[in-house]
Subunit: 193 residues, 2 copies
DNA sequence: GTCTATACCGAGATAGAC
DNA sequence: GTCTATCTCGGTATAGAC
């Protein structure tokens, strides 16, 4: 049964090599020849396992987007309330923290990810928008919606920040949740000075 | 004097076409042939005006980065104080708002921008880091630094948000400044739950 | 000083032999 | 499953027309 095992291994090895090279060099700068070389096969052989370079990218960042999708879907069944808001934000932070290793790749190569997922991403984007609107609270002003957007951005700091510091995941979670809440607390405040 | 004027026009037209196509399609998916076509010249003719596709990208997002650089440089001469902090944040928001049209291109094609600016960007990144550290305030904890990162992210909402709404630039400025300040106000707070 | 014709190389992708 | 050979298209480079 060399064939079956070897096949599974090869596909897994390609995946590993892709995760590795994409995260260090970026998507564009990584060629299929390079990946094939690292695995020890030919460029053309890759195509037996993955039908395109984009499919390979999908395999790499797919789980992240799936989890994100799940969280956003969850909030759509919730009425807005401050407790639910806290729960939703918490779930969101959890996903971002859990995947923050693949995060940089995702952030740096958004263009490629957008291209790779195409229309599949439209629904995720739509849900993100609805999530932001939900976060803006009942009867939001334009300023409130901007605040909601800012609150979400806040959470993204988990990826971009240098997290080599001595901060536990629990601490990151607490700090960012607190930050997002602080921004949202400004809702309803009159704009101006 | 057709030559001189035609030359300047051509270069400007290439620039315009690039801004246009990059922002709608993204950097990678826009080919030089496509740009040349839109201008009405040959692919090779582009080469006379811009020595590479990367140089064209530099021309497009360059002023944004220059302005950002200038703001970050400015803050380095300042002692930290809450008034100075407010001023620095204000200047930062102003730059982001002023360039928010080219912002999406910058955000989506970071990978390409990083490649195009290469080492030139290292200093900007270093300054950004110092800015964040400065924002964290005197004797910051790790949590405070995370808060500073989150505050900066907040301001980025000016780009990613759908700004077709009826929000004036002054309003955006006020809201985001307020949001960033709210996040920073949590500095020193013990991390709990 | 401005542009075209043309060639080059490396990329992703496909067809078909083994 | 994996290979070789081949195709197309992208960015790049140069020689030379006007």
């Amino acid at each position: 049964m060399q064939h079956a095992t070897s096949s599974r291994d090869t596909k897994a090895e390609i995946h590993r090599a892709a995760v590795d090279l994409f995260s260090t060099q970026g998507y564009d700068k990584t060629s299929l020849r390079e990946i094939a070389e690292q695995v020890g096969i030919t460029k053309a052989s890759l195509y037996y396992h993955y039908s395109s370079k984009q499919q390979l990218l999908r395999a790499v960042v797919g789980t992240f987007l799936d989890d994100l999708f799940e969280v956003l879907r969850l909030t759509e069944t919730m009425e807005w309330s401050s407790e639910n808001e806290r729960e939703a934000l918490g779930a969101y932070v959890d996903v971002v923290i859990a995947h923050r290793a693949t995060g940089p790749t995702l952030l740096r190569d958004i263009a490629a990810v957008l291209a790779a997922f195409g229309d599949d991403l439209d629904e995720l984007i739509a849900r993100s928008r609805r999530f932001q609107l939900w976060l803006a609270g009942p009867d939001p002003t334009a300023a409130d919606r901007l605040r909601a957007a800012a609150a979400v951005e806040t959470i993204g700091a988990a990826m971009s920040a240098e997290l080599d510091l001595s901060v536990s995941e629990a601490e990151i979670r607490a700090v960012l949740l607190d930050a997002a809440t602080a921004v949202l607390a400004r809702r309803g405040t009159p704009v101006g000075e």
